[in-house]
């Protein structure tokens, strides 16, 4: 199956791209994507602890199963300042 993966903020900067299409095996989960990214860029795993993921505009977990055409995003911690 094919899914779209979007990268924002620090992830966008680190991976040097804002989105891409990924070909995944049937039964793939969000974890499948995280592992694939970690192979390319091991340091990204340090961010996994604080990062959230979304599937089709809803927060998801590593175990969320994916289907053809899903839009997945890596969501680094959202910020707006502490005391605004």
């Amino acid at each position: 199956m094919k899914v779209t993966v979007k990268y924002f903020a620090v992830c966008h900067e680190m991976l040097d791209r804002s989105e891409e299409e990924m070909q995944l095996p049937e039964g793939a989960t969000v974890q499948t994507i995280l592992k694939r990214l970690e192979e390319e860029w091991p340091e990204i795993a340090e961010f996994y602890e604080v990062m959230q993921m979304s599937v089709n505009w809803e927060y998801a977990t590593e175990n969320t199963e994916l289907t053809e055409g899903d839009e997945v995003a890596l969501i680094p911690p959202v910020t707006g300042g502490n005391n605004v």
Binding site: V50, E58, V78, T79
Partner: protein, 147 residues
Amino acid sequence: MFKITTEVITGAEVREAVAAPDAGAVVLFFGTVRNNTDGRPTKYLEYEAYPPMAEKKMEEIAEEISEKWGIHRVAMIHRVGRLEIGEVSVAVAVASPHRKDGFEACQYAMNRLKQIVPIWKREVWADGEAEWVKPDAVFFENLPERT
């Protein structure tokens, strides 16, 4: 009205978005670009958003406010791109029958916005360095449980 925009945010548009004949109060909040963070001079800020998800999450916040206070008139706008010192980055408007609920709901909307709406801030310092701003404590306290 729930939107991510590249345009200048005006008070009039958010106020008009929540106007209602049964409202006795409209609370407006503007977040503006500060010229420093903890004393370090800021040159300008860059905001990035995930627009469709951000707008969806704003709507969810409005639903939460509707459940908690029975207030149905809420508007939220966040600007993205480069913003100069003093410009409005975010605006929240809440119209309510009485001001107490309006103030509370407006505060709640901003707190929730920082927690769940996917928007990021890149601080460009006056000395030329730049960095994505570190998450605030609220974020870590409200991480959804991983299964």
